[in-house]
């Protein structure tokens, strides 16, 4: 499933029905509020890694996560946090499924997520490159930077100092106007 889809209505009361708090809305709200361990200003919903939250017929809940990078060490942490959040709103049985396809892209970060990143001094990503099925051209020069604005002073006059930052998802940049270094979530 590519997008978070509307939840199915609650199943009619049966002997297996979950306790009163364990509603679809509660499940959705609890899962969406879980924070990313490495970018804690963002929720999993802001980051776009939470692909579905649904109630099953047996009263359990299933959340579907997608990883950001292949080697991201935060995935197990996210899974555990999701599990705990869903248990805290009354679900005794929680399944966290991992969906690898289609791969996560920084284009999946919501507008709200981008606003929160900028507020925290991290420049949000630009549009991820479109890929055709043919060979990917090699980029021999540092890419033009005009799209990345300094999150401190708003100047577009910024430069990349390193494509790789403190976590897999970030690049290091510097503002030529206010001289502040800053991080950017790099397009993927």
């Amino acid at each position: 499933m590519n997008t978070v889809t509307p939840l199915t209505p609650a199943t009619p009361p049966t002997p297996l029905s979950p306790p009163a708090r364990a509603t679809p809305d509660a499940a959705r709200a609890a899962a969406e509020a879980v924070r990313d361990p490495e970018l804690p200003m963002l929720t999993l919903a802001d980051l776009g890694v939470l692909r579905d939250v649904r109630l099953e017929d047996d009263g359990s809940v299933t959340a579907v996560l997608t990883p950001t990078y292949s080697g991201c060490p935060a995935l197990a942490e996210m899974r555990a946090d999701l599990d705990a959040a869903l248990r805290s709103v009354g679900f005794a049985t929680v399944h966290v499924r991992t969906e690898l396809s289609p791969p996560w892209s920084t284009d999946d970060i919501t507008a709200e997520g981008r606003r929160k990143l900028a507020e925290a001094g991290i420049a949000p990503p630009g549009r991820a490159p479109r890929r055709s099925t043919g060979p990917i051209p090699v980029t021999l020069t540092v890419r033009p930077d005009s799209a990345v604005r300094c999150p401190q002073c708003g100047s577009p006059d910024t430069e990349e100092t390193s494509r790789f930052g403190a976590t897999a998802c970030k690049a290091l940049r510097r503002c030529r106007a206010c001289r502040e270094p800053f991080e950017q979530v790099k397009e993927i």
Partner: protein, 278 residues
């Protein structure tokens, strides 16, 4: 997580003794993924392919990790470690898939830590010991150009798990190859000394392409075209094929003594207590 601070959150109760710190308590990296083998996919072939791609990534990641504390500048150290981390992540997913396909009950740890050098299938270029920084970026250019071309073709593989791992890996490898290519251009078209060192690294490593092309002939044209473009931009001459490379084949399990040394370090702790929970 109740606390916004990642390190403070480590001290929280997790209700699970095996997860004693951030990133530990590794479980199956394919946890929660539908891992049914589709009809029409040969399980042995899939296992062999995943294992070879995983071994290339693990061994290359270990060589990159050896640069930590030794790279010419902090940013570069972070970059090389990040590239290694991407490869390690790919290796974990591929080992898990290989273990499922072969059906002998081996998980990612058994495949990474409990096999002897003769059971590894990585290409020799991945195990070549590190040299100077020019050597590092030339090796990374060769390996990442080749791996990117392979992964892109594997997006169409009949096994959806391998196809998904490849698809994700393509975005990562595009960054790795660009990083290496930009350094090769900077060094090749830099000072006399940087050009000399880059040329020497190329002369040493260039003939290892033969094994890359033998292992993935379908990527040959693309890889050669990329390398020619980068060398032209770097004002470096295409070297001859006359440097000596070991007359063995990593894909057949024949390796140099360098892999034995690398694995001794990589596997030593895990083998000293195979039952330990990390």
């Amino acid at each position: 997580m109740t606390d916004d601070h990642v390190y403070l959150s480590l001290a929280e109760e997790h209700g699970d003794d095996t997860r004693w710190a951030f990133g530990t308590g590794f479980e199956d990296p394919l946890h929660g993924v539908d891992t049914t083998l589709p009809a029409g996919v040969d399980a042995d072939e899939l296992a062999a392919l995943c294992l070879a791609l995983a071994d290339d990534a693990l061994v290359a990641a270990q060589r990159l990790a050896e640069w930590v504390t030794l790279a010419p500048e902090l940013e570069e150290e972070v970059a090389l470690a990040n590239i290694g981390l991407d490869l390690l992540g790919q290796a974990r997913l591929l080992y898990a898939r290989a273990g499922q396909a072969e059906g002998k009950g081996r998980d990612e740890d058994a495949l990474a830590y409990l096999r002897d050098p003769g059971e590894f299938r990585n290409v020799l270029l991945a195990e070549v010991p590190n040299g100077d920084f020019a050597h590092c970026v030339v090796k990374l250019l060769l390996l990442s150009s080749w791996r990117l071309a392979q992964l892109q073709q594997l997006i169409g593989h009949a096994d959806p798990v391998l196809a998904a791992v490849a698809h994700k890996g393509v975005s990562e490898l595009t960054y790795h190859r660009d990083h290496a290519a930009q350094w090769v251009v900077r060094l090749g078209d830099g000072t006399d000394e940087s050009a000399r060192r880059t040329g020497a690294a190329l002369a040493e490593l260039w003939p290892y392409r033969a094994e890359l092309h033998a292992a993935a002939p379908e990527t040959r044209n693309e890889v050669e075209a990329v390398l020619a473009e980068v060398l032209a931009a770097a004002r470096l001459d295409v070297p001859g094929e006359d440097a000596t490379v070991p007359a063995v084949s990593g894909r057949s399990g024949e390796h140099t003594e360098h892999l034995t040394e690398l694995l001794a370090e990589l596997q030593g702790v895990a083998r000293s207590d195979p039952e330990a929970i990390w």
